[in-house]
């Protein structure tokens, strides 16, 4: 479980997050939605410890993450996996080497053991044959899947995904969504996903938090979204003609 309590974050004069409290549940896909510039990525990176927060607390189970020393934070980081918006695969390494990277640093396994684990993770994301290719030789969807394989290679307890579907076609986006959801339930991880893709919300959003101008505007399940009377949320969710038609047909 990850719990953020009254966190705020600003860059210089600009306040990006204001007094946000959310409980992200274990074994569930927790989605953060909101328009571009609403603070989703900053919130995700703040929770993951990549942006120091100005106020509030971030709890990983019972540990106050933002008050720990570097060594203790590092131990929690080893339990995290993250899929970045642009995949963030290392250009200098092949797909296999990318997935193996954390194992090289944090295990004393033999090369055979590491290769076995890498093979397992690549198979889990349905990429058995591309291990020796460099990221530039892979499609966007493949890069995302290698990113997922790298994120789960250390058996993390917490998985963070920043816009996992950005730049992907609808079919590949569904594959990635399903994969993240399956992995979350398979390993009972606490998964937090940033997205503004409403298809993802409806497909895998077990818990949904809506951010608006750096504040938590709404929180609930994907079923609740359709019946919410929050105008800001409705303006965002039902911005497209198709979404309005779906709502109309449901009601």
């Amino acid at each position: 479980m990850i719990y953020v309590h009254n966190i705020s974050k600003g860059f210089g004069e600009q306040q990006v997050l204001s007094d946000i409290s959310i409980n992200f549940e274990e074994g569930k896909t927790n989605l953060i939605i909101g328009a571009s510039g609403s603070g989703k990525t900053v919130l995700l990176k703040a929770i993951a410890g990549l942006h120091p927060i100005d106020a509030g607390r971030i709890l990983y189970d019972d540990l106050v993450f933002n008050q720990l020393d570097e060594r203790a934070r590092k131990q929690i980081h080893k339990k995290m996996g993250m899929l970045f918006q642009g995949s963030a695969l290392f250009d200098f390494a092949t797909a296999r080497e990318n997935v193996r990277f954390p194992l090289d640093f944090f295990t004393d396994w033999s090369m055979a053991q590491k290769n076995e684990r890498v093979d397992f993770c690549l198979e889990r994301v349905n990429l058995e044959d591309i291990g020796n290719k460099y990221p530039s030789e892979l499609s966007g969807g493949m890069q995302k899947r290698v990113g997922i394989a790298r994120a789960i290679v250390m058996n993390p307890r917490y998985l963070f995904c920043d816009e996992p579907n950005s730049g992907l076609d609808p079919q590949t986006a569904i594959v990635i969504d399903r994969l993240i959801s399956e992995i979350t339930h398979e390993y009972n991880m606490t998964t937090i996903i940033n997205t503004h893709d409403m298809n993802s919300v409806m497909a895998i959003g077990e818990k949904v938090v809506f951010l608006y101008e750096g504040k938590k505007e709404w929180e609930g399940s994907r079923e609740n979204i359709l019946h919410s009377d929050n105008k800001t949320l409705n303006d965002f969710v039902f911005a497209s003609e198709m979404a309005r038609l779906i709502k109309k047909s449901k009601s």
């Binding site: 990549l50 131990q75 970045f84 963030a88 695969l89 640093f105």
Partner: protein, 248 residues
């Protein structure tokens, strides 16, 4: 301006504190060390060789042209070439050339990694990215550049020898006699010391500019340019200070 400079110095100190920590695994450090020696050192050998041979030849022509007085022995051409190469060209000028090649390479590489969130990915894994990315570069360049400097010195001497042999403006024995005249071994120590300090400046300053936050690819380019300007200024200031300290 003063505030920005102080902020930059503060960032530099914090970055160096993260760089100079014990590597997570020595085996990974040594692997990276050899990778960086190849990519930052060995790839510069041809460039430095070509420039040094040309500068050695030009120094011979210019010095011989300026020594027209019959009371000044011709062997002074070789002497002047040797002193110019070891005291200034092979360390300071080569360092300035490497600032352009190696400095921009480091700054843009690290800057691109920052922009594409590869550095964030390392931090997420619990890896000290500054230590992993920068420390092997510092050690590789500080070890290899003094060797490159000695190579530049020898190739510069060879360039002079070739032009003497080709034009006959002085005899080869006069040139060789000049090279051997009043040789001071301390100058080698002085030049190597300068090169180690310059190499440290090249890597750490370019890494500082590359490592900072980047919003877009234009900022990567700007950071690279700014790093080269800063490195060149620092090399020149350090050159003055070291020369005053070591030769006065």
């Amino acid at each position: 301006m003063i505030k920005k400079t102080l902020e930059l110095i503060g960032e530099y100190i914090f970055l160096m504190k993260r760089v100079f920590t014990k590597p997570e695994k020595w085996s990974i450090f040594w692997k990276q060390y050899f990778v960086e020696t190849e990519s930052l050192g060995l790839t510069s050998v041809v460039l430095i060789g070509i420039i040094s041979i040309a500068i050695g030849a030009v120094l011979v022509i210019q010095t011989a042209y300026n020594i027209e007085n019959p009371f000044i022995p011709k062997m002074y051409v070789g002497y002047m070439v040797r002193e110019s190469l070891i005291l200034e060209f092979s360390c300071t000028m080569v360092a300035l050339i490497l600032a352009g090649k190696v400095g921009s390479n480091i700054s843009s590489d690290i800057g691109t990694m920052r922009l594409t969130e590869q550095i964030d990915a390392m931090e997420m894994m619990g890896i000290n990215s500054a230590n992993y990315l920068i420390l092997p570069k510092v050690v590789a360049v500080c070890v290899f550049n003094p060797i490159l400097m000695l190579f530049s010195f020898l190739v510069g001497i060879l360039g002079g020898w070739l032009i003497v042999a080709a034009t006959g403006m002085i005899t080869l024995s006069q040139y060789t006699e000049g090279l051997r005249f009043a040789f001071n071994g301390y100058y080698i120590v002085y030049a190597v010391t300068k090169m180690i300090v310059f190499s440290f400046i090249i890597v750490t300053v370019s890494a500082l500019y590359g490592y900072g936050p980047k919003a877009n690819s234009m900022e990567v380019g700007r950071a690279s340019t700014r790093s080269i300007v800063a490195i060149c200024l620092l090399i020149l200031i350090t050159d003055l200070m070291l020369t005053q300290l070591m030769l006065n």
